[in-house]
Assembly symmetry: C2
Homo-oligomer: 225 residues x 2
């Protein structure tokens, strides 16, 4: 199976548990994973600035010394978490997409609902925290945005593979994807404020109809000028 350069498999995080490995290495990798999971939880629940090395260690039930052994600085911890969080979210998202029946995927646009669910995961919450923090924190900026752009490329690539029937639409497809993601992310962002599940469902349903109409050519997507 030929893989594009931006495939998900090209960026599996390093240093995580593998079956084949000495006892020590396995133990070490396990600790690292526990720490990364704890970091995601802290980011999602307490925000970026309150995700201190102390808090992460306690959340991971590890000593601070142990943590700083695996991730010498907070930066290193955050960098590893960025990769881990994105990879984990993307992997389950893709897997779920692949498990859809053809009619669910094509006619009922179930992908939207999966994306919406993916945006509710702790991994995305953590990702959003990092994203917003990166806008104003120069150090984090350098760590976050290059990775975020790579992940975006992976996302587009995997989506294209998962929805082959859209490809004949050409540029209309990526634009539809951007529209979808922007809308869903915006919807999630305002969720606590609008606070109306019924209306939210209607908007998502509306988006679904719009996508169908785009696919059927009943809404024309403009070309870049």
């Amino acid at each position: 199976m030929p893989r594009s350069a931006a495939a998900l498999s090209t960026l599996a995080p390093q240093g995580l548990p593998r079956k084949d490995a000495g006892l020590q290495e396995r133990r070490s990798a396990e600790t690292r994973q526990v720490i990364l999971e704890a970091t995601i939880r802290c980011l999602a629940r307490h925000g970026y600035s309150k995700t201190t090395t102390t808090l992460v260690a306690s959340e991971a039930r590890a000593s601070r010394g142990a943590m700083l052994h695996h991730y010498p600085t907070r930066q290193a911890l955050i960098a590893a978490t960025i990769e881990y969080a994105f990879y984990k979210r993307m992997k389950t998202f893709i897997a779920t997409i692949r498990s859809l029946s053809e009619s669910d995927r094509i006619e009922r646009n179930k992908g939207i609902f999966l994306e919406l669910r993916s945006l509710q995961s702790e991994e995305y919450q953590a990702y959003l925290e990092l994203h917003v923090a990166a806008r104003t924190d120069p150090e984090l900026r350098d760590v976050f945005f290059p990775r975020a752009k790579r992940y975006d490329a992976v996302w587009r690539d995997e989506i294209a593979k998962a929805f082959p029937e859209w490809t004949e639409l050409g540029e209309a497809f990526p634009r539809a994807c951007e529209l979808t993601r922007a809308t869903l992310e915006g919807l999630m962002l305002n969720r606590d404020i609008w606070d109306d599940p019924a209306n939210e469902r209607v908007v998502v349903e509306l988006l679904s109809r719009i996508l169908t109409m785009i696919r059927e050519g009943r809404i024309e997507v403009p070309e870049a000028s």
Copy 2:
């Protein structure tokens, strides 16, 4: 002119400069405004957690003592900034909407582009910082969300007044508004990552076409179940 309970005028922030007032009160109000502007700048440029009282004071060219005189705690400062930032952004947005020609407003959906520009203001950047921080900071949460919900009501009310020709669509109009805002906010959120002005324009143009089709009844908006 009868005003609805949620009109913008109902929540003009207190304690800001007025022409009629004693010298002391005027001076005081001026200082407060300078401080609030500085806070917005700090939030937009450095983020919530780095917006310290010290930084704000220096940005406002005021002493820390002066600042703590007007806003005894950081909480108080933030609360005042929330109100000020929203009011300021909303006011210029509404004013710009009102200045549109009828054809720009109705046929060309210029409102979308104004909203998009509004989302690029420092006031919105600050607002986003506060919003995201409020999700994880319990104290800020109590201060932010009640206000944010009030502002949302104001926004809906003012939009309804500014686009009278949509009202006959009934519930389709607020849903279209939510779709628009979600999409534009999501677009702004991903701006640094997607980083492609041409594509962004296309998506906005697509959104514009969608809105036109909704208004003309060519896209049916589902009802809440």
